[in-house]
């Protein structure tokens, strides 16, 4: 066993990383829970990414995208199903996209605010609004409106690309578990880390087709990559800052539950309380509603063996999902570590320790302790 010299309140978790473990304790139930939930998440992400990319490509600068959730065309039958809520909650994917857009981060944010980007998208905008005097007038009167819509499309596309990698990774993880290749939490973390590292350098590019011609929005020359420009901002926005578990917790500003500094406000997947608060009227989380359709049988059995069986299925999914997100975060932290953890160089050791302590500061108010049981 390796013990660091850290005096951080969460030093025990730093020691875990040094000993090849992760945030989540390694036991068969946790493995089953995490792999099962990530597999169902994989199916949901596949649908989400397809829709996000559909919106980015087909609904580009559509001012009223009424049918944006209908990837495969609109029919009366599909419309009825949609209204009856017999569908995937694509809204959740949009919430995540908007959280990324609002929080920004990485080179992607820098690029969409750059003059190069404005110059490039103006060509696409002009092509799109050609022959539409009302929108042309709108563009003249409010020159920031359409570029902001394009920025949003960029994030639709970027998140779609990120999840395109992640859904395949999670489905493969499920297959590997089914084949007996994955048996421990460190193996789960290792599998995710390997997937992230393998895709780290993937180029993020985006172009739209208007009038049979292709218009670059995120060109190759922007040199945006998967890990640093999309994955890391996504983790920051959704895991640490965003609003992923809609309706599971409410903050009371008058009770001082919201930090004075906005940057200190945490509401992400790693902080959210899986237990809904209050009485009726709180909507169950959209993501949990979607994932319940794809739970593997072994996870159903595991949930059914509990005292309340599947009466609180959404809470159980939420808890399992939170555990799995700690595994993904563990993989990301390990993947981004400045030096090899087994280094003998004192300076590198100190640098690694500072890196981990910096991360642990952010987990002080998280659900980290609650997922240990």
């Amino acid at each position: 066993m390796t013990f660091t010299t850290s005096r951080h309140p969460l030093a025990a978790y730093i020691d875990r990383f040094y000993n090849g473990q992760s945030f989540l304790p390694d036991n068969p139930d946790n493995v089953k829970e995490v792999v099962g939930i990530l597999e169902s998440y994989g199916y949901v992400l596949e649908a989400y990414q397809e829709n996000l990319q559909h919106i980015a490509d087909r609904e580009f600068l559509t001012i009223f995208p009424f049918f944006k959730y209908f990837n495969h065309g609109v029919s009366s039958n599909q419309l009825l199903k949609h209204l009856a809520h017999d569908r995937i909650n694509f809204e959740y994917a949009e919430y995540c996209m908007k959280v990324m857009l609002w929080h920004g981060g990485g080179k992607l944010e820098e690029y969409v605010e750059s003059p190069d980007f404005r110059q490039l998208i103006e060509l696409a905008i002009q092509a799109k609004i050609k022959g539409n005097p009302i929108i042309q007038l709108l563009h003249r009167l409010f020159p920031e409106f359409l570029p902001e819509q394009v920025r949003q499309s960029v994030y639709y596309n970027a998140l779609g690309q990120f999840w395109e990698v992640m859904y395949a990774l999670f489905l493969n993880l499920g297959k590997a578990y089914d084949q007996g290749k994955i048996t421990t939490i460190p193996e789960v973390v290792g599998f995710i880390k390997a997937g992230l590292v393998a895709a780290a350098g993937n180029q993020i590019v985006y172009a739209v087709q208007i009038g049979g011609k292709s218009y670059d929005i995120l060109p190759q020359s922007a040199n945006l990559t998967f890990l640093m420009d999309v994955a890391v901002p996504y983790v920051e926005a959704v895991f640490f800052r965003g609003t992923p578990f809609l309706g599971t917790v409410s903050y009371n500003a008058q009770a001082g539950e919201i930090p004075f500094e906005q940057s200190a406000f945490t509401y992400g997947a790693l902080y959210a309380d899986p237990l809904p608060i209050g009485g009726s009227g709180i909507p169950p989380t959209l993501l949990m509603q979607d994932m319940r359709h794809y739970l593997p049988e072994y996870l159903h059995k595991m949930y059914q063996s509990s005292k309340r069986q599947e009466n609180d299925l959404l809470v159980k999914i939420c808890q399992s999902f939170q555990k799995s997100m700690y595994c993904v975060t563990s993989a990301a932290i390990l993947g981004l570590a400045p030096h090899d953890l087994k280094t003998n160089d004192p300076q590198e050791q100190a640098s690694n320790l500072a890196y981990f302590e910096n991360w642990m500061d952010r987990f002080l108010t998280s659900q980290l302790r609650n997922i240990q049981g």
Binding site: G279, Q309, D312, V315
Partner: protein
């Protein structure tokens, strides 16, 4: 016709005790049969007739002056119906795996027969026998199926209520002796002929007896203990019906037999009502155990009935009647909800319970029913509790303005302690101790749902309760002068 209401549960009790298997089904069927017979009685009941109906009169033991005389009027009919309903609710909400089911269900049916006997008896001695008979099954139901301190609670209940019975018997014997009567037939003229000091003596004994049973401060201490230790169905019967034996006794015997003495004692009784209302409410605020809180709430709410009885007007008597039914339904619904909470969470301590309204892991339906119950108890409009309390205050204010105002503080305090309960136990985040609760089944919800439905229904059509008793009350509060005085007080049209 009335004897059927006694015979059916008695035969049912014997069947349950001796018939092999299907104990619960038999008990439930018998209780439903009693409800059916009560409904038939309601349809046959002559609303315009103020006196006793369906009278059955046989000499039983001539040498004792005891006769088997039954009758029903507007005062007893709503309470008989309440007893029938709550007996079925108690059987339905009993644990399916209850120990010694034959004894348990037969005792509940026996209790039903005894309570019905109290409401129907038109012979003072028969009333007393039924009143005492009810003690035996209830004592056993608490002593055998109660909580950890059941022996203590059951014994305390027995001692207090036996003393109550002794005082009532003493009053009845005194009435027959002083009145020079050989029989114990209910006869207001007999008491009216007595000098006022003798009337006071007898009324005092009756008041003490019924005051213990109601219970009123300072004779209430048996009730919280009995409730805390009794199982949920028994608490339903205890609060819903058993306490009404005393309030019924006060209206029927204290006011009915000794109207002159009652008139003189009324201001003092109003004072007693204030103390009981406020003491019960303040004690409820101090409780941490949900069941004890509901029990002290009963002490407080029984005080309103005494206030209404003290006012001694037709409207106040109607108000007292509606409060009896109202309290029976509300307290039963509250005890049922508390029972489910206790069964699932293993505690009733509001310092431990929190967030039970949680839609995923709590008990939102039971929580909602509990909220409706406490709203009704606190007198929120649209529920029968509001009608009862409003009528009480409306009718007592012209007679006792200060006591009425002081009792109205009790209503405010009801909202205080129940909101404390709801806020602590049901709102907020589920406390860690109760995050792994078993789900509540619909079967467990139905009894409280049925009662809550009745609470709301009677809140909108209170006339469905008062219509039965109005002619009886008007006739009871003769001489006509009183009726004429009261007629000048504007009354609500209680007809639906």
């Amino acid at each position: 016709m009335l004897s059927i209401l006694l015979v059916v549960p008695l035969i049912g009790a014997a069947l349950v005790a001796w018939w092999p298997g299907k104990t619960r089904s038999i008990a439930s069927t018998v209780a439903l049969a009693v409800i059916g017979w009560t409904v038939l009685l309601l349809t046959k009941f002559n609303l315009g007739e103020p006196g006793m109906q369906f009278v059955e009169d046989f000499t039983w033991i001539d040498s004792l002056g005891l006769s088997y005389k039954l009758g029903i009027d507007g005062l007893s009919l709503p309470l008989v119906a309440l007893n029938s309903l709550l007996t079925w609710v108690a059987i339905y909400s009993s644990d399916e795996k209850v120990d010694r089911p034959r004894l348990y269900y037969s005792l509940i049916l026996l209790l039903n027969a005894a309570v019905t006997g109290v409401f129907l008896a038109q012979d003072l001695l028969l009333f007393f026998i039924s009143y005492e008979l009810e003690l035996v099954p209830l004592y056993l139901l608490i002593a055998i199926w109660g909580g950890q301190k059941r022996a203590y609670a059951a014994t305390k209940f027995l001692i207090y209520t036996a003393l109550s019975g002794a005082l009532i018997l003493a009053a009845f014997l005194g009435l027959a002796w002083l009145g020079g009567s050989n029989s114990f037939t209910y006869n207001p003229a007999l008491a009216h002929a007595l000098p006022l000091n003798q009337q006071f003596l007898l009324l005092g004994a009756l008041l003490l007896g019924f005051g213990i049973k109601m219970p009123l401060f300072p004779f209430h201490t048996w009730l919280p203990d009995a409730h805390v230790e009794a199982s949920t169905p028994i608490s339903v019967l205890l609060a819903g019906v058993l306490l009404k034996l005393a309030t019924y006794g006060i209206l029927r015997f204290c006011v009915g037999l000794f109207p002159d003495a009652w008139q003189v004692a009324a201001p003092w009784l109003a004072g007693w009502a204030i103390i009981s209302v406020l003491y019960g409410a303040l004690m409820a605020i101090a409780q941490k155990d949900m069941k004890k809180m509901v029990a002290y709430s009963s002490v407080s709410h029984m005080g309103y009935i005494l206030l209404a009885a003290a006012a001694n007007t037709p409207l106040s008597f109607s108000a007292a009647m509606i409060q009896m039914v109202s309290h029976g339904l509300i307290s039963a619904a509250l005890f049922l909800s508390v029972g489910v909470v206790y069964q699932k969470a293993g505690t009733r301590d509001i310092t431990i319970l929190e967030g039970l309204l949680n839609p995923e892991r709590g008990m939102p339906v039971i929580g909602s029913l509990m909220i409706l119950g406490v709203m009704a108890s606190a007198g929120i409009p649209g529920m029968v509790g509001f009608v009862a309390e409003f009528l009480i205050f409306r009718s007592t204010f012209p007679i006792f303005p200060i006591p009425t105002l002081l009792c109205m503080i009790g209503t405010g305090l009801t909202a205080v302690y129940y909101l404390l309960l709801i806020n602590k136990a049901f709102f907020g985040r589920l406390s860690p101790q109760v995050q792994d609760l078993e789900a509540v089944t619909w079967r467990e919800r139905y009894p409280a749902m049925i009662l809550t439905g009745a609470i709301i229904l009677f809140g909108f059509v209170p006339g469905w309760i008062t219509r039965w008793s109005e002619p009886t009350i008007l006739a009871m509060l003769q001489p006509p002068a009183i009726v004429a005085t009261v007629a000048t007080i504007p009354t609500l049209d209680l007809q639906p």
